[in-house]
């Protein structure tokens, strides 16, 4: 057994556990595929002689249920009794494959692999039983933790077969028989997540709770402007306060931010409170550096200027510009969206223990972190400590949400640097203010759209340009326009059947750290494309649903390769861009919302519609709004249909799609992170508002399409089409078109 299990107990965790111990501990006395397979799934499942099945969870749990969901897939193929399954959280280890719990990839990447892992172990147990009984293996079948021989009525428990099974050769993947879909026991059925009781009773360990013996608590005064440096500081006042142990200067970074710490002055103390007091007492002079002039109000004007000039066309067909120039009926619109912050409920936090030898060389480095990507922690902390990444032991705690912020391990490097200096474990705590001031912010965007309409009101040409600081700028300081993989999230993957297209990106130099936030570039790009489609429908005097279905055209697969489009690395055969599925979710959402009533609603009451393909899944949203005469908005209903192929856990999918509606509502209604003099203006939830019970959608009705297609994304998929559907509903209710988010900046009063 592991001696450190931070997610299961409140006891202090021992910092001396080595990574090698961890893998050895799984093997002890069990049927383990370790060392036999060599293609990865060896580590995922083991069966002890007492029959207990241990399954490794290698993705991070931040509320999606993945820590339970993937092991359920293994258990299903294994025919294990779920009551006799133990889940262990894996440390960061590249042999497990991708561990970046991000990009709505977990089920998509590992569904097949978990099935193979379970089926491999089941096959070995069946073969062991056949050998023992001297019968053909085809007569033996695993069922609920036993292998049965139906002809003779004999049965052996999994535990009883372990000793024989472990001596067998591991079957090749081609020898395995996967269970048919109608025999699935757990996949597609609801379940309680494994941490439910611990979470509800407060026993679960999140990163912010993680403790090591003798640990210090640190808070850091970071440069208020990204890329700034400490010019000088005076810690005299701090050092006089009780509980202060050390004040340590941390270096900033040169060039691109990457996952390096921002630098600053760390106050390390015996408690978080003492550290906070100590930080308040610091006197620091900053060199703000080149981003000191960052002013988002002016920057938005720069972005608008950028998209109102020809850009770099990433997808082009026909002669869109010429047709628009000659057309008698052209509709134009500019959309802007501000920066957003992840603002996870639990801020970023990590505790590290680094030990060194007499020469100061690092001998051990152990990190417990609320991280979405433990391998990124290894890759960032290793070089900072002068050791190999695989020698950094990273335990993953539960995460109090992440939204992409916790894939970026700058805070783990901070903890390791401080621990190495102070020769004690150090827990770095980010306050809410730290979190909002020093995020890897969701980008700020301007999008320009033009369409030429024919006499029936349908577009003959469509031109769109987007400018926003690229995520690439976080890794390459010279990157100054959206990358193709960013544009493919809602700009260049335009699903409409229009002959003349020009989809362009324009220059935008980053002035702060840019990162990915749930749904990433779908947030601005799908807002623009679905708002613009609605504007055209109204300009043409058509029903927005009928118009959208016409734009989508006939059922077909978009030829991604011919259009030069990526597919998030997924095979186009397995994950086609299927317009039929997109239209299906749109129609289903409309049916459930009783869409046709939209024409007879009173002023101030409206329905809005939008659809999107994002993270390989499909959503259709209908949002209902009520806007009072004095401009107060309520969202009584949201209907969402989602088609993300095969589903492991319907209830977790519903929860993600409901959560996405709440988050997207918060962003559309209030979300705005601005900069003045290079500094973030909103620094807590009082100014960076999110929805509360009183102003969030009252009801979110989620309809999951029953599909046998390959599993696609879910976590982010529910975001993309919400905000445009909301703003389209506001237009229907009030005649006011929201082109600049957030909605709270606009006066919605009418009548």
């Amino acid at each position: 057994m592991m001696s450190a299990a931070p997610s299961n107990s409140r006891q202090s965790t021992t910092p001396t556990l080595s990574r090698r111990h961890f893998l050895a501990s799984i093997s002890a006395g069990s049927l383990v595929l370790a060392g036999k397979l060599g293609h990865g799934q060896d580590f995922f499942v083991s069966i002890a002689p007492d029959g207990v099945v241990t399954i490794l969870a290698h993705r991070s749990e931040m509320g999606t249920g993945i820590r339970t969901g993937l092991p359920r897939v293994v258990a299903d193929e294994l025919e294990a009794d779920w009551n006799r399954v133990t889940i262990k959280q894996a440390p960061g280890d590249k042999r497990l494959g991708d561990q970046n719990t991000d990009g709505s990839n977990s089920i998509r990447f590992f569904f097949d692999r978990m099935r193979v892992a379970g089926a491999t172990a089941r096959t070995m147990l069946e073969r062991a039983a056949a050998q023992q009984w001297g019968v053909d293996v085809s007569e033996c079948q695993a069922e609920m933790h036993e292998v049965k021989h139906s002809k003779s009525g004999r049965a052996l428990g999994f535990g009883e077969l372990v000793d024989a099974a472990r001596k067998l050769d591991v079957p090749r993947e081609t020898e395995l028989k996967l269970k048919p879909r109608d025999k699935w026991r757990y996949i597609g059925k609801d379940f309680d997540i494994t941490d439910l009781d611990d979470i509800v009773t407060g026993k679960a360990i999140f990163g912010i709770d993680a403790r090591m013996p003798n640990q210090l608590f640190a808070v850091i005064a970071r440069p208020p402007v990204a890329g700034g440096q400490v010019a000088s500081y005076d810690a005299e006042g701090t050092n006089q306060l009780p509980g202060i142990v050390a004040v340590v200067e941390l270096e900033g970074y040169d060039g691109a931010p990457n996952f390096q710490p921002l630098g600053g002055v760390a106050v390390c103390a015996e408690s978080t409170w003492a550290a906070w007091q100590g930080r308040d007492a610091l006197k620091i002079k900053w060199n703000d550096g080149p981003n000191a002039d960052y002013d988002t109000e002016a920057y938005t004007q720069e972005l608008l200027a950028s998209v109102n000039k020809p850009g770099h066309a990433l997808r082009e067909s026909g002669a869109a510009s010429d047709i628009i120039a000659k057309s008698e009926r052209v509709i134009r619109a500019d959309y802007t969206l501000p920066h957003l912050s992840h603002a996870p409920m639990e801020t970023t936090c990590a505790v590290a223990n680094v030990t060194t030898d007499a020469q100061g060389n690092v001998t051990e480095c152990y990190v417990i972190a609320a991280t979405q990507n433990p391998q990124a922690v290894q890759q960032a902390v290793g070089p900072a400590m002068g050791i190999a990444p695989e020698d950094v032991l990273v335990h993953v705690s539960l995460l109090g949400s992440g939204f992409g912020r916790k894939s970026k391990p700058d805070y783990c490097v901070e903890a390791a640097l401080l621990s190495r200096t102070l020769k004690r474990p150090v827990h770095v705590t980010w306050t809410r203010e730290d979190d909002l001031r020093h995020d890897y912010y969701h980008t700020t965007a301007a999008i320009h759209a033009e369409a030429a309409l024919d006499e029936r009101g349908y577009p003959t040409a469509w031109l769109q340009r987007a400018a926003y600081p690229t995520i690439g700028s976080t890794f390459n300081a010279a990157a100054d326009e959206p990358a193709s993989w960013e544009a493919e999230m809602g700009l260049t993957d335009l699903p409409f059947a229009i002959a003349n297209l020009s989809l362009e990106v324009c220059k935008a130099k980053a002035k702060t750290r840019i990162g990915w936030l749930r749904a990433v570039c779908h947030v601005p790009q799908n807002f623009a494309v679905s708002s613009f489609a609605d504007e055209l429908a109204h300009a043409a005097g058509k029903d927005p649903l009928d118009y959208l279905l016409s734009l989508l055209g006939k059922d077909r697969h978009i030829d991604l390769k011919a259009e030069g489009l990526g597919n998030r690395g997924a095979e186009p055969d397995k994950y086609p861009y299927d317009i039929g599925r997109l239209k299906n979710v749109l129609r289903r959402a409309a049916d459930q919302a009783n869409w046709s009533r939209h024409k007879s609603l009173d002023k101030g009451h409206g329905l809005g519609i939008a659809c999107a393909r994002s993270f390989l899944g499909y959503t259709g949203h209908i949002v209902e709004v009520e806007v009072s005469r004095d401009g107060k908005i309520a969202i009584p209903h949201v209907w969402v249909s989602i088609d993300s192929g095969t589903i492991v856990s319907p209830d977790r999918v519903r929860a993600q799609v409901e959560g996405a509606a709440n988050m997207a509502a918060a962003q559309a209604l209030f979300g705005k992170l601005t900069f003045k003099n290079g500094r973030a203006v909103q620094t807590n939830y009082d100014s960076y508002e999110v929805t509360r019970m009183r102003n969030t959608p009252r009801a979110v009705h989620v309809d999951i399409v029953d599909s046998q297609a390959a599993p696609a994304g879910v976590g982010e998929t529910g975001v993309a089409s919400f905000a445009p559907a909301l703003c389209n509903a506001i237009f229907a209710a009030t005649g006011k078109r929201i082109r600049n988010l957030p909605i709270a900046d606009h006066d919605l009063s009418w009548g």
């Binding site: 409901e658 509606a661 999110v690 509360r692 009252r698």
Partner: protein, 46 residues
């Protein structure tokens, strides 16, 4: 804890009561389930 306090002061809270009393932030976006759970609890406590 907030929900317990609400139910102690009002055995059968209305939507408006829930809107007013449950003012805390949920970033995962479970507001709709919290509302439903409070109503379920109110029913069971009757």
């Amino acid at each position: 804890m907030m929900a317990v306090a609400l139910l102690k002061s009002k055995a059968d809270p209305s939507d408006a009561d829930i809107d007013r009393e449950m003012w805390n932030i949920c970033r995962c976006g479970t507001y709709q389930r919290i509302r439903a759970a409070i109503k379920d609890a109110a029913k069971e406590m009757k």
